[in-house]
């Protein structure tokens, strides 16, 4: 009997041992092979920065959306670049998806976005000239914003429904917000009135100013575009040129659309340096300069005036950049556009006038240290 008991005990002990053997709360320490294809990681952050802002408190109840949601639109989960999402469904299963996507800068430009939307519903791409013919304006957020309506000609939804897209682009501070409805052709046409009423109801208010990020006006083939699956941290240091970072410039961390960022913080205020690159001419010198002039509180200028007001600066390897110095009453912008091997590189310093005056020599030295 004792033998029997010991056998039974052994069975029970083995069961217990097996069941308690694998603990899920152990910290694992190991050496692992580096990723074979390392995804781009965000830029380094300063080693010691005090917490300037409290993180989101769980008890801070966010206010409702800054627009009136039309009846029948059902709120959906959001993620990534999508800051709001709704769904409209017909009783027979036809549906339309409504999205609000926010991106920093101009997010690829109007043409590339419109062409991407056209492609999604089975339409061919249009040129910049054709785009102007498709563009209308509608009221949104107390001003006029561009509006596009496009109807597909092929059944791209479930292989049986044609699609229609309504889209509006609203610049908001340093960001661009895309309001879009896409879905079954007739359903979207039916919802158009509500869509227009919806964007008309948008209250723009104040955007997040501390994330003010600059992106050059994009060329037609710029890669960035609003997408719910767009990479969230996308700095690829392997494409960066070499440069010498002046003393006092701190790494500004990873920002969408930027290849690198630096920050200057001193008694005069905070300065922001952005480095970005776009294929082609990045929208052109005049368009970018005029956009920057608007940010500095200056009036737009024409090509002839631009020639008079822009200078040139050379990098360490001999590339020539166009330099503009835009002095507003409170804000001053120093910017250089360097065409290089089919791309345009944008180096821009934004900050209070006194700070820029003090940092001007360092900015020039930084640009002159660049080697592609």
């Amino acid at each position: 009997m004792r033998v029997v008991f010991s056998r039974v005990a052994a069975v029970l002990a083995m069961s217990s041992l097996l069941m308690s053997g694998c603990r899920k709360d152990d910290v694992r320490v190991y050496q692992a092979p580096k990723d074979l294809e390392t995804p781009p990681s965000s830029s380094p952050s300063p080693a010691s920065v005090p917490i300037e802002r409290e993180v989101a408190k769980s008890d801070s109840k966010p206010k409702g959306p800054p627009w009136t949601v039309p009846s029948g639109w059902v709120e959906q989960a959001t993620s990534g670049m999508r800051v709001a999402s709704y769904l409209v469904k017909a009783t027979d299963g036809r549906a339309a998806d409504i999205s609000v996507v926010a991106l920093e800068g101009v997010a690829g430009g109007e043409l590339s976005n419109v062409n991407r939307w056209r492609e999604q519903i089975g339409l061919g791409a249009v040129t910049e000239e054709q785009l102007a013919g498709l563009r209308t304006t509608v009221p949104a957020g107390g001003r006029q914003v561009v509006f596009y309506e496009m109807a597909g000609e092929k059944p791209v939804l479930d292989g049986k429904y044609k699609a229609r897209t309504l889209a509006s682009i609203l610049p908001a501070g340093a960001m661009t917000v895309f309001f879009k409805m896409t879905g079954e052709e007739a359903l979207v046409a039916l919802e158009k009135t509500r869509f227009l009423a919806w964007i008309r109801s948008v209250e723009t208010g104040d955007g997040p100013s501390e994330t003010e990020v600059e992106t050059p006006v994009a060329a037609a083939n710029a890669s960035a575009a609003p997408s719910t699956q767009a990479p969230l941290a996308s700095t690829d240091s392997s494409v960066l040129p070499h440069w010498s970072v002046p003393s006092g410039w701190k790494d500004g961390g990873s920002r969408p659309m930027r290849l690198a960022s630096f920050e200057i913080s001193n008694a005069e205020g905070i300065g922001d340096i952005s480095i970005s690159s776009l294929s082609g001419d990045g929208g052109g010198l005049l368009a970018n300069v005029n956009r920057w002039r608007g940010q500095a509180g200056l009036a737009t200028i024409d090509e002839a005036t631009l020639k008079l007001e822009s200078g040139t600066i050379r990098t360490a390897d001999g590339a020539t950049g166009f330099l503009v110095d835009l002095k507003g009453t409170e804000k001053r912008i120093l910017a250089v556009i360097i065409p290089h091997r089919g791309s345009s590189w944008f180096i821009k310093l934004t900050g209070p006038t006194e700070l820029i005056t003090k940092e001007r020599a360092k900015f020039d030295a930084f640009v002159q240290s660049i080697r592609f």
Partner: protein, 388 residues
């Protein structure tokens, strides 16, 4: 005392009660899936010693239940003790003996599968290589530093269930501690939009979270749903705050600069590294003409194993998994990335490692043979009696 215990454990009544309990566990466990989802229901009803079932509206009291582990262990003990104490070997009972051995093997095999089998997923885009697979349910907060070798990273990985609001995580190899300011089982992390988020501060003061927000989402329990954990983590170096970082399952690695070097932080699915690499060469996604019904999902992958100097290409498709180095790779999912990201084909392989995979097959074969033998013996006796 010993005699009483042995009589209890070898009792046929216990067998009947345990089988009834097993039926109840399966019944309520199946009902529980509707509210808890498959994964949670498995943990709650089957991978537990005790559980209870609560109806949806919870207007009447919960029903206490034995857990799957308790029923399985007692059934195993019941069968084993009954077999050892009561069974007397003879050729006439050889079929019963085999059947008992087969059932014991099934029970032990199931226990071993539960303990040892691992399932994970290897996802990649065409042209990408992977030397690891990832858990589809569990996350870890990993800190990585270059180990000094070109090939290796030093990894310190905290399981996600340690990341709870208010806790502080430490490890002797980390030059800083991690204070968990907020932690969510399922979180929405998105760009901090103008207008929409003007009254919400950024999720963190450092890294990618500076231009994002995080908010809690309802935990998902569905079979095809997946929770993406999120957290706000404050790094403390020698009592001094280094700032806060946003940890999220949708963000790529973020860097943390310290006096002793650069670390990378990533909240990611738990990884299991392999001693070989697979590269996705090509995906084939065929549908029946005129429909969206899948006809063939096929991934052509290249296996590279430096140890065995193996370098070959194989096709993985439905009902044709790759069995390699103790792992089985099943074609799981297939898709295509967005056009602006390159439009490449994507594939996900389910990676299964089960050292005890043979046990249920052997158990069933032995039970089947045992029943055949036992019925054969009875049939033989019956025929002999009729002839007589």
């Amino acid at each position: 005392m010993l005699k009483t215990l042995t009589q209890f454990l070898s009792s046929l009544r216990l067998t009947v009660v345990l089988l009834a309990c097993a039926i109840a566990v399966v019944f309520f466990g199946t009902l529980g899936q509707t509210s808890d989802g498959l994964y949670v229901a498995q943990q709650r009803y089957f991978r537990s010693w005790f559980s209870y079932w609560t109806p949806h509206d919870a207007t009447f009291p919960w029903i206490p239940l034995p857990g799957g582990y308790l029923v399985g262990t007692l059934l195993l003990a019941n069968l084993t003790v009954a077999h050892v104490t009561r069974f007397k070997w003879s050729w006439n009972k050889s079929g019963i003996f085999m059947t008992h051995i087969g059932i014991i093997l099934l029970l032990v095999g199931q226990l071993l599968t539960d303990m040892l089998a691992r399932e994970s997923v290897m996802s990649f885009r065409e042209g990408e290589s992977r030397n690891y697979s990832e858990s589809s349910m569990d996350f870890e907060l990993a800190f990585l530093q270059d180990s000094g070798s070109n090939q290796l990273d030093q990894v310190i990985a905290f399981p996600a269930n340690l990341i709870k609001s208010g806790t502080e995580l430490q490890h002797p190899l980390l030059p800083f501690s991690i204070r968990v300011r907020e932690a969510f089982e399922n979180a929405t992390v998105r760009v901090r939009g103008p207008m929409v988020d003007s009254n919400r501060p950024p999720a963190s003061t450092q890294g990618a979270g500076r231009s994002m927000i995080i908010e809690s989402s309802a935990a998902k329990r569905g079979m095809d749903d997946r929770n993406v954990p999120g957290s706000v983590l404050e790094m403390i170096d020698g009592g001094r705050s280094m700032g806060t970082w946003l940890g999220s399952g949708i963000l790529r690695a973020q860097q943390i600069e310290t006096a002793s070097g650069t670390w990378r932080m990533e909240l990611r699915p738990v990884r299991e590294y392999k001693p070989f690499a697979l590269t996705l060469i090509k995906t084939t996604h065929e549908v029946y003409p005129g429909t969206e019904k899948p006809k063939n999902f096929q991934s052509r992958v290249r296996i590279q194993n430096l140890d065995s100097r193996e370098d070959r290409e194989v096709d993985i498709y439905m009902n044709n998994p790759l069995r390699y180095s103790g792992y089985t790779f099943f074609q799981f999912q297939m898709g295509r990335e967005q056009l602006e990201q390159g439009g490449r084909g994507t594939s996900a392989l389910q990676v299964v490692q089960n050292p005890s995979w043979i046990a249920p097959y052997l158990g069933c074969i032995i039970v089947g043979l045992g029943l055949l033998v036992q019925f054969g013996i009875h049939l033989g006796k019956f025929i002999s009696r009729r002839k007589a």
